[in-house]
């Protein structure tokens, strides 16, 4: 464990050095994510200029849900972005062999070989939205609440990561599962809205199949007194843990199949 932490730090330092070489790219990347998230906030703001609540949810509450989603997503985006490239940069060109002949966990290597600076953009805007919406939720922000918030954000990021890992693993069988990952990721947009505006089917899928519901709405609901979802919300860390465990086991399975057939 210590060894891996040290190793990650080495990788991280190297990535930062590369990043500093491309300063303009860095700025464009951060700005692009910042604006992508910013316009979705602007969209909600415009809608709320014309109405007061959506299905009983206020503007501030909606913003708070968004904030959790953005912060969780930014963690995944910053540290686990390389999972997207598993198929076309590692398996298809044969670079995964390089990963396999090193005495370090292969998944660790793939993840550590990239730090995606763009994620900082959504982290910044997530914080801004959090700080503007959090005070008006009618909640006393003590140490316990802040701790819980951190747990929830990390869980959210872990679930985003686990879902991506699961579908990236398909690349071991189908060469490049990028289209599948892309389609699945699109469903994460559902999770930014209060779940009870959706029909039963969608709610079921986002809770039990692809647990994106736990990346934003459920964890946010823990902080909203009258949400009626606080019981579901406490499961967030558990769901995160289970998702990561299942995704990792699936990855191991994929790896075994890969070394069995060799692409």
């Amino acid at each position: 464990m210590r060894r891996y932490a040290r190793l990650y730090w080495q990788y991280f330092k190297t990535r930062i050095k590369v990043m500093m070489e491309y300063r303009i790219d860095f700025l464009i990347g951060v700005a692009s994510v910042f604006f992508t998230q910013g316009t979705s906030i602007l969209f909600i703001a415009i809608v709320f200029q014309h109405i007061d609540t959506i299905h009983g949810w206020t503007f501030q509450q909606m913003l708070f849900i968004y904030a959790i989603a953005m912060l969780g997503r930014s963690l995944e985006h910053t540290f686990f972005d390389n999972l997207w490239t598993l198929g076309w940069q590692y398996i298809r060109p044969g670079n995964f062999d390089r990963v396999l002949i090193r005495p370090v966990n292969p998944l660790f290597q793939v993840v550590a070989e990239r730090v995606q600076q763009d994620g900082i953009g959504s982290f910044i805007i997530g914080l801004i939205v959090l700080f503007t919406s959090a005070p008006s939720l009618g909640l006393e922000w003590g140490a316990a609440e802040i701790l819980m918030l951190i747990v929830m954000v990390i869980s959210s990021g872990a679930i985003y990561m686990a879902v991506n890992l699961f579908f990236a693993t398909l690349s071991f069988w189908m060469v490049d599962s990028l289209p599948v990952m892309y389609a699945v990721q699109q469903t994460s947009d559902f999770a930014r809205y209060p779940m009870n505006i959706f029909g039963k089917g969608i709610r079921f899928v986002l809770t039990f199949i692809i647990p994106y519901g736990f990346t934003a709405f459920y964890p946010a609901a823990w902080f909203l007194e009258d949400s009626g979802y606080r019981h579901t919300a406490v499961w967030t860390p558990v769901v995160a843990f289970l998702s990561v465990a299942i995704a990792y086991l699936f990855w191991k399975r994929g790896l075994r199949s890969f070394t069995g057939t060799g692409s």
């Binding site: 060894r3 040290r6 190793l7 080495q10 990788y11 190297t14 050095k17 590369v18 060109p93 044969g94 670079n95 062999d97 390089r98 396999l100 002949i101 090193r102 005495p103 370090v104 070989e113 070394t259 069995g260 057939t261 060799g262």
Partner: protein
């Protein structure tokens, strides 16, 4: 050091029939074919040996190397590398091996070479002073100094391969697998790389398994070769003995001024064979146990006007070609 017994690797492939109806058929009743990439091979390699592992494309070389590295699980058979079963303990095996896989980079694409080495130092837990000493030596032998600050993507093929080679030997592995380390390189770089490999073997006793299509590599580096074809070992033995066995063959290529159809001079009949080449050229093959090259030339001179001639000797290349075509 390396023990391989009855090793086989079979792939199950789905054969695709052409056309739409074929696509339908393979959807419901896929036609499975088993391909024997490696078929019951065995050999033993001692510590410090330098072995050329050669064969035509698709003969099963890479599959074998991948199994030795632990990247691929064998269908049947046993592998033991330094007491480790590679595919069962890939991690432990990995600490003791280095590899260069042809044109695929082992280095990190977008960071400077030195940074790559630094990362490798941490990956393989190389002690700092040892790392520094090794890197300094490699820098001198392979002339890496001007390359260390450059990102890999900006290096030329030859520069890259020198850096790759250093990366493979950096953690002082007991075994190094080199899969076509000289492919596409110019003569100067090739010879530098061969020098380096020999040097490593001499100084550190590194076991080297080399696959290549360049027989010069084999001749300069290896004392032993294993020839594999269609997944089976055709020959395993010293380079010298294969030369002794097949090496009496000589071929002389003549460029002649021909006025009529070529005919072998009568004194050469039964002692040599000839094959026509391009217009006006003829290749005469013979064994130097039967007749000397000088005699062949003088016989030819007596009958024809020779514009030019070249003698190809018993290069391993000719021998291996012969074995590929005709078998042992």
């Amino acid at each position: 050091m390396i023990e391989v017994k009855n090793l086989s690797k079979h792939y199950r492939l789905t054969e695709k029939s052409p056309g739409l109806s074929g696509a339908f058929k393979s959807l419901f009743a896929p036609k499975r074919v088993t391909k024997k990439a490696v078929d019951d091979i065995g050999f033993q390699i001692e510590s410090g040996e330098m072995v050329g592992y050669i064969g035509a494309n698709g003969a099963g070389k890479s599959t074998t190397i991948k199994m030795l590295c632990g990247i691929l699980t064998p269908t049947t058979g046993e592998i033991l590398v330094d007491g480790i079963v590679p595919y069962k303990e890939r991690n432990r095996n990995a600490k003791n091996i280095g590899a260069v896989f042809g044109q695929r980079s082992q280095l990190f694409w977008d960071i400077a070479v030195r940074e790559s080495y630094d990362l490798l130092k941490h990956i393989y837990d190389i002690p700092e002073d040892e790392y520094r000493k090794t890197l300094q030596m490699f820098t001198e032998v392979l002339e890496l100094e001007p390359l260390l600050g450059t990102p890999v993507r900006q290096l030329s093929l030859g520069q890259k391969m020198r850096c790759e080679l250093a990366a493979a030997f950096l953690h002082n592995p007991g075994i190094v697998y080199l899969d076509e380390p000289t492919i596409g390189l110019d003569v100067a770089v090739k010879s530098r790389i061969r020098q380096f490999i020999k040097e490593m073997n001499r100084m550190r006793g590194t076991t080297v398994i080399l696959t290549t299509h360049d027989m010069q590599d084999i001749e300069e580096i290896c004392s032993r070769i294993i020839i594999i074809d269609a997944g089976k070992v055709l020959y395993d033995g010293s380079l010298q003995s294969i030369k002794d066995r097949y090496g009496d063959k000589r071929v002389i290529h003549f460029e002649l001024e021909l006025e009529e159809e070529f005919q072998l001079p009568p004194d050469l009949a039964g002692k040599a064979e000839w094959t026509p080449g391009e217009t006006g050229t003829v290749s005469v093959a013979f064994s130097n146990h039967v007749i000397t090259a000088a005699d062949v030339i003088s016989e030819m001179l007596r009958k024809y006007r020779i514009r030019d001639l070249t003698i190809s000797d018993s290069k391993i290349e000719t021998i291996v070609q012969d074995i590929y075509c005709r078998g042992i």
